[in-house]
């Protein structure tokens, strides 16, 4: 339990800082910004209480908001993503998942992990860009921005996953 807490804290600090220090400044072709910080709540252990999960994702969003001067936008997107995470895992993997398992390539399998990442990132980005476009609606560039950002975010999540030693080890342990 303590281990879980420390691990989550490290993940939180690491990915929020990567996001605010580097990735927020990347705008590939003026369209795509990677939001790698979703990796933090993608990797939270399965079987956490749902209220806890909601709080964690809400706080992650709020932390990012504080740095981008957009109070509420990221928080709203993250809260929804955090809310649908557990039913989504159950839907994709089935009910026979042991509790406390970290989602990863090994535990989910490549296909399921990809679908899981894709769906969470899609929900998060749709809400985020949807709220953002309330102040200026431009359907074509909105669609391009969503798709572009989703592509780079998923790419980075997979890169992070491939280099994540912890996820490979814990996969063997389970």
């Amino acid at each position: 339990m303590i281990n879980d807490f420390v691990r989550n804290l490290i993940y939180f600090i690491l990915f929020v800082s990567i996001q605010v220090l580097f990735l927020n400044h990347i705008h590939f072709l003026r369209m795509a910004t990677p939001f790698l910080y979703v990796y933090f709540f993608l990797k939270l252990p399965y079987g956490m209480s749902r209220s806890q999960m909601l709080f964690l994702s809400f706080i992650t969003g709020l932390a990012i908001d504080a740095f981008t001067n957009t109070p509420g936008m990221h928080a709203a997107a993250c809260t929804l993503a955090g809310f649908v995470r557990e039913p989504l895992i159950r839907f994709l993997i089935g009910k026979d998942m042991p509790e406390g398992l970290y989602p990863s390539f090994r535990t989910f399998g490549y296909g399921s992990f990809f679908r899981y990442t894709f769906l969470i990132v899609a929900i998060h980005h749709l809400i985020l860009f949807g709220i953002e476009s309330l102040s200026l609606f431009d359907p074509l560039s909105l669609a391009l921005r969503i798709l572009g950002s989703m592509a780079v975010t998923i790419l980075l999540v997979f890169a992070a996953e491939a280099f994540n030693l912890e996820s490979q080890r814990s996969g063997e342990k389970q």
Binding site: A66, N69, P71, A75, A76, T79, F83, S133, D138
Partner: protein, 284 residues
């Protein structure tokens, strides 16, 4: 009753979810462009300092002192220029019909404070700039911000040591501007597409201009003095109702490479607003 309680307890994450989303929506909607929460923004000391790490790294290491000096000097000169232009205009105005009415002892009301850009974005839809001067340095919301090359934005939120600027590159930004030498003003706004271009809208169709003409602030607000460079006309088109032009303006400020900026303080701003507000009230 017991059933109901049990139901509520088992479904408590639903209520929590709804509660948190409502909190988010309140946060999104409560803040207008000029009043935003200080806590969840880069004016907060903690976030401001962390965000400024990036600004520190990307600034020139050796050239910083020199750069600063030059920027300051340049700022003073530009202020002097604006002041002189203003004096000339006053003199001209005095020459002709109402001789003696303009107050010749009147000083140019704008002063400036140098500030460094600590956090900056250009390709989000709602961009904001964080600068390293705040309330303690005398900055208040609604002050104009310019760089050496031209218009930057308006201060929207002020913390103790940092402030957030609403730049031209934000859909909430509006500024009255005109083509240099013509006295009809249009409204400058940004369409969210390209950080190099903004749009000057509602310019009456009889205004004469050509591609390449300079666009400057009109001085119709108490935020910017007249004559601050905004950019050059790169293209134009007619609006649907045919009576107005929309001009594509190539911005003279390079928002991607902002470092030092100047915050303009207008000593007469409060007075002007008070007067305008009263005029509006009397009108009702």
């Amino acid at each position: 009753m017991r059933r109901l309680l049990e139901f509520l307890v088992t479904k408590r994450h639903w209520f929590l979810f709804i509660l948190l989303e409502v909190v988010c929506l309140v946060l999104i909607y409560q803040n207008s462009a000029y009043q935003r929460t200080v806590l969840i923004s880069t004016t907060n000391v903690v976030t401001g300092n962390i965000a400024s790490l990036v600004g520190n790294v990307s600034g020139y290491f050796n050239m910083r002192a020199i750069n600063r000096e030059l920027a300051e000097k340049n700022g003073e000169l530009e202020m002097r220029l604006l002041q002189l232009q203003n004096e000339i205009r006053q003199l001209q105005a005095r020459e002709v019909p109402f001789d003696g009415y303009a107050d010749s002892a009147r000083v140019f009301p704008y002063k400036f404070i140098m500030a460094q850009v600590k956090n900056n974005s250009v390709t989000q839809l709602s961009n904001y700039i964080t600068i390293n001067k705040g309330k303690k340095d005398g900055i208040t919301p609604q002050m104009g911000v310019v760089s050496e090359s031209g218009l930057v934005g308006v201060v929207s939120l002020v913390g103790d040591h940092f402030s957030v600027v609403l730049p031209v590159l934000n859909p909430k930004f509006r500024q009255s501007c005109k083509v240099l030498g013509r006295n009809y003003a249009g409204s400058l706004a940004w369409d969210g597409r390209n950080a190099r271009y903004a749009q000057l809208m509602e310019l009456p169709r009889h205004v004469e201009f050509q591609k390449g003409d300079t666009v400057v602030t009109s001085g119709y607000s108490a935020i910017f003095p007249a004559g601050i460079k905004v950019g050059t006309v790169s293209d134009y088109r007619r609006e649907h109702d045919d009576n107005f032009y929309t001009l594509e303006i190539e911005l003279s400020t390079n928002f991607q490479a902002l470092d030092y900026v100047r915050v303009l303080m207008n000593e007469e701003q409060a007075e002007q607003w008070k007067l305008e507000k009263e005029a509006l009230k009397n009108d009702k």
